[in-house]
Symmetry: C2
Subunit: 260 residues, 2 copies
């Protein structure tokens, strides 16, 4: 927690930096700024945040855009532009203060609040999610589990007893669930989604391989293994096609026969 600006009352830590930022910028500015951040940039900010957290743990106090970009797998111009959406918190000629940057990204990502999570569908994946340690430690406590199987009701998984799916509305309201995770078979996903929405959940992470139909005000993110595999498959095929094409001309692009 060493502060690089040695000049004066430097007990300025994360919280203090945050407060001064809030003071310098009106709430409306922050709002306007957040609204304007491209979705792709938000995803990268989350990655930067993890890298920065790792840096902080290793005692790094300052980092340049070049270094951070390298660690995050992007180019430095993009990184600086992404950070500029958050605000101007770097020091020219020096770089960024790791702690300060962490706190500002957390603020923009809304990580200063707790977001209670409900997992629906306690099969293989649901178990894995309920036991996944990464959630609570990052501000996403798993507050409820649901399944349609009555035999599972009451059984604790990852320390939390499973509720029957029929209780979803009351339990979600009571525990202030803001994010619902759907890990059910595809046939059940839309119905579960509808129930979550009517329970007031406005953000859904969907692992079921279906396209959910939701009202406009509900945000859905999809994690689809089959799609990911098929994208990889596409690249395998394209690569093989290119190799075949190049081989027709005798040798590979770089003069070497690829996978002979």
């Amino acid at each position: 927690m060493v502060d690089r600006r040695g000049a004066g009352d430097e007990v300025v830590t994360t919280a203090a930096a945050k407060r001064s930022a809030d003071a310098a910028e009106s709430a409306a500015d922050v709002r306007e700024r957040a609204r304007a951040i491209p979705e792709a940039a938000v995803a990268r900010l989350a990655v930067y945040l993890r890298v920065l957290s790792g840096m902080a743990e290793q005692g790094v106090t300052t980092i340049s855009s070049e270094e951070l970009a390298g660690a995050a797998g992007v180019n430095s111009a993009k990184l600086r532009k992404d950070l500029s959406y958050v605000g101007s918190y770097g020091t020219r000629g020096v770089g960024y203060d790791v702690e300060v940057l962490v706190s500002h990204i957390e603020r923009i990502l809304g990580l200063t609040r707790k977001h209670s999570v409900a997992v629906v569908g306690i099969g293989n994946l649901g178990h894995a999610l309920a036991n996944y340690g990464g959630f609570p430690s990052r501000g996403f406590p798993v507050a409820a589990l649901f399944d349609i199987d009555p035999d599972l009701t009451g059984v604790p998984v990852g320390g939390i007893p499973v509720n029957h799916i029929d209780d979803i509305t009351s339990v979600c309201a009571e525990r202030e669930v803001s994010i619902g995770v759907i890990a059910t078979p595809p046939q059940a996903a839309q119905a579960v989604c509808d129930r979550l929405v009517s329970a007031g959940v406005q953000c859904i992470l969907n692992f079921a391989p279906v396209v959910l139909q939701v009202p406009d005000y509900v945000e859905v993110r999809k994690v689809d293994l089959a799609v990911e595999m098929q994208i990889l498959s596409f690249h395998v095929a394209r690569r093989a096609d290119e190799a075949a094409g190049d081989v027709v001309n005798g040798v590979g692009v770089d003069g070497v026969v690829i996978r002979p």
Copy 2:
């Protein structure tokens, strides 16, 4: 290939359509076309494919761009453009033949070949992946499992015995693994990735929350739960901020003061 269409001789349709397509178009054309498909469109093609498969199972033989777009959650113009990357296989005034479209998308996505998958890291997630039925049925047989824990070696998971990670090179080569799935703790991910790459695996699906460094010729896709959750968190926060903005003007959107 496993035939998921239950209707008897339907594999013939697929194969025949493919053959005629290959005849109508030179291999170079197909290659050129595949090279030009935007990544975003590839992801959507995989979604269309699933929707179409479902339609086929329900006995639907023909579908219009409007219907398919609705089911896939995109607008019809985008859908038609995406399909135009694959080729012109619709009938004006009618729509698309479901079977034909399925076979052409499968061809473009490279699903006419088998892609053997290796899963590394047999923890909660690894178990879920090994037992996930969606892979084999869609042409992605899980051919190998690896873990660093010697106690797991030889134990069958999802019908496949776990190998020790030290055997990764030989086993991957022997079983012609083309896609590696990393489900290890983050600390181990880069080392595992390096081993997969040196074993000749060129496509990697990474569930570990780290940015993998790989040679240019290796394709990596990342599934990052923390990032997904944080993106949702951002939207929760943005929404709350917007509501708060309304509060500045008096009361919240629904007449309730948020965070008083």
